[in-house]
Amino acid sequence: MPRTGVFVCWCGSNIGGVIDCPGIAAQAAGFPAVVHSVDYKYLCSEPGQNMIIQAVREHRLDRVVVASCSPRLHEETFRKVLARAGLNPYLVEMANIREHCTWVHGAEKEQAQAKALALVRRAVAKANRLEPLFESTIPVTKRCLIVGGGIAGIQTALDVADAGHEVVLVEREPTIGGNMVKLDKTFPTLDCSACISTPKMAAVAAHPDIRLYTCAEIEKVTGYIGNFEVTIRRKARYVDHEKCTGCGTCWEKCPMQVPSEFNAGLGQRKAIYIPFPQAVPNKPVIDREHCRYFTTGKCQVCAKLCPAGAVDYEQEDEVFTEKVGALVAATGFQLFNWSRVYGEYGYGRYPDVITGLQFERLVNAAGPTGGKILRPSDGSAPRTVVFIKCVGSRDESKGRSYCSRICCMYTAKHALQVLEKVPGAQVYVFYMDVRTAGKGYEEFYQRAVREGVVYVRGRVSKVYRDGERLVVRGVDTLLGRPVEVDADLVVLATAVEPAAGAGETARLLGINADRDGFFQEAHPKLRPVETHTGGVFLAGACSSPKDIPDTVAQASGAAAKVVGLLSREQLSTNPMIAQVNETLCTGCFLCVPVCPYKALERRKITELLPGHPPREREVAGVNPGLCQGCGACNAVCRAGAVEVRGFTNEQLLAEVDALCL
């Protein structure tokens, strides 16, 4: 017979203000196997914890029930208390009489009292059947793999590598740098975005502990925290980067013109190209889809002219694996494709209606216009520029319900840049709210207003052409009047959304995405860079829209978590995982496909039955590194052979009996 102690917590007035805690303790004293039952103001406090330890010793308790708050909050605390008292830490059971009772039944005290008592009775029933559990350890591979080489991935890579761990950085584009390096200036300080990001890119390339794969994507992830194996496909670049010196002859002579992705379609690049002059690596790739040789079988100009003989049309994709202990998702964002749904703004039929990212390229000295703001339609300087905010953001009917966070500030920056670069220009910003939470942000917005940007509160209903005019039809809700602007250039602040393929990345990494496709943090406030999958971390805009300061801060946060993990020689595993009773297992393997963590596998065993020759058969086995203890296998097992430790059938049925009988 166990010797169980019950401790009822008041949690100040949170619990004690609703129910009669001494009464609960008194009644619990009569429950089976309970030899000690008391109440206390704050059990999580230092004196409270000491009281439990003392009671364990005095009354020789070997099971403990704590009736207090959610186990999410303090289960760990009380396990440590048991350890200090010399008990196995898994012999504590909590009854959540706060979140599950007094917080929600504050108005019906009598029923709350009855419910709290029932919850304690349940906890005692389970506690009496608890078994000691023991953690085991697994080794840690002291390397980290980062998916995505934008500023988030770059910052994480540099921080982890500087801490002395090897980093594998995987980027699907031909260069790292992501969105940030395409931007002209950053708000609110107006420093040059490329100037502050290219040194970091170069640092990545030069770092002895960073292995960089561009044109590469992850294809498969196996393993678990501390011990992942990642399959990477590095696409053929058709240029041998070992031989290539980056001299530029090939792209100068290539006859094919292709709209430049880096310039958001506003400029041209060649079919063999580097995306921009400071690309890392600074070696070209061939865009097979547009290459004349690949499409017609003739040309080979680049191969003929390459002094290093680096062009290799026969190059194939490489597939290889990397072993790492931690993974970081830093897949970033893309802009919402407005031209698919915004018919009222012309569905992209007017060349002079562009996105904010296109504007960044127009205003950038290294961009297609050399930094002059010119209309895409005719190359003239626009006199009147209209900015429209929240295109696809805060728009449930066409786009996303959320606020994209960065548009208010970059639009203010764009507006100022127009005033600076086009003397005498008129600039209008249509907005619903101006959101400027950030250091120096509000001041920056006020500066735009003071320098003459006309802010008009209201959404734009239509952008249309009438003869030579491009008309923006909006409203000034503060005046209560519809308004109209004859615009030369219209810039849309389109919504930030997860990068293309983010869903697939989430699936490969075994992490969740929210309803908008952003990766889900383990806790939105307290665990913002972790995920529910051990060893997988988040950096940057892949988890929600972020500006550069927040992205970099989060990237360093993720790096700290990675370094923390990699600094350990071994990890202790959660013992509350599935176990298979091999004798009962019939080998139906229904459990294998239901496991979301791929933790169940087929295993061969040799059975020795008295009077029979040894027999080989297949049963289910649990990989303790992968199992998260969710219990899906337990539910599906017809033979009752799989159980989760700490949640065995016997324990759960005892709880049900205690509640219902």
């Binding site: 039929r349 249309y464 009438d466």
Partner: protein, 286 residues
């Protein structure tokens, strides 16, 4: 192909030529029209502005009658089309409303018939089938296709074409050999609903549409709604008087244009009964 035909009140009077040209074009394309026996007025704007239930109930009687025919309903008039489509959608989605309407009309509406606008049906035909009928391509004619409100809005009800930049009528116009001009007032409201009670409003909206179409280079305008047609055509004189303009932009039904390309006679299509005579523009094509 056979449809229940709901012509609506206007097509029996001021929009006679829409009826004429619809029947002519459908006959040529092998589309059989079986007029709904004893149909009643859909109630138009007046009914739903007065009582939501009245708007649905008046439309529902027609749906019940069409149900007896067992055919999908084809509606040329954009306004009638939208009223019938709204009624059908609302009753389908709200069984409480459906029960009330059955009580009110005394007619069970259980055979859920489809509601299709004439434009939707014709635009859904095979290009080759349509092109085969074109004996007189209207080459050189620049046409502004005007869809108005009710064919494309609200998209949750209508849905067969884009509410901001519809293209079905443009496609038919091009199949007829004419050129459809790209313009951005295709779905702006013409204000016809205000024509009688508040004419200045209607005139302003009509003027804007006619002027934008002219500036886009159109020789004429085609539409699919009797209210739009009479507002833009018959009231064009009033527009000129009110604004001192000298607009002279013929406004035809798209079926008249198709009929011309199919080789019908101007009179068979009622082209002689419009206010702004389209015949000079047509004849100038040679």
């Amino acid at each position: 192909m056979r449809y229940s035909y709901y012509s609506g009140c206007s097509l029996h009077a001021t929009a006679r030529e829409f009826d004429l040209s619809t029947r002519a074009v459908c006959r040529r394309l092998g589309i059989e029209l079986a007029e709904i026996p004893d149909w009643n007025c859909c109630g138009a704007t007046a009914a739903h502005s007065t009582s939501h239930l009245l708007g649905v109930a008046l439309a529902a009687r027609n749906l019940a009658l069409a149900g007896e025919q067992g055919l999908d309903v084809l509606v040329p008039c954009a306004a009638c089309y939208q009223r019938l489509a709204v009624a059908r959608k609302e009753m389908d989605q709200n069984s409480e409303l459906w029960k009330r309407v059955v009580r009110i009309t005394g007619r069970d509406y259980t055979d859920r018939v489809g509601i299709k606008s004439l434009l939707e049906v014709l635009a859904g035909l095979d290009s080759e089938q349509l092109a085969a009928q074109v004996v007189r391509p209207l080459e050189g004619l620049k046409v502004a296709c005007y869809y108005g409100c009710l064919l494309v809005r609200p998209p949750a009800v209508t849905g067969f074409d884009d509410p901001e930049h519809p293209r079905t009528m443009d496609r038919l116009v091009r199949l007829a050999g004419a050129e459809s001009v790209d313009w951005d007032y295709k779905t702006e409201c013409c204000g016809a609903a205000q024509g009688v009670s508040n004419e200045p409003v209607a005139l302003k909206l009509a003027r804007d549409i006619l002027e934008v179409a002219s500036r886009a280079g159109a020789d004429c305008l085609v539409c699919a709604c009797p209210l739009c047609q009479s507002n833009l055509d018959a009231r064009q004189g009033h527009v000129n008087r009110a604004y001192g303009t000298s607009l002279k932009l013929p406004v035809m039904y798209f079926t008249q244009l198709l009929g011309l390309a199919f080789g019908f006679d101007e009179r068979e299509l009622g082209l002689d009964t419009l206010f702004v005579d389209p015949r000079p523009v047509i004849r100038a094509l040679g």
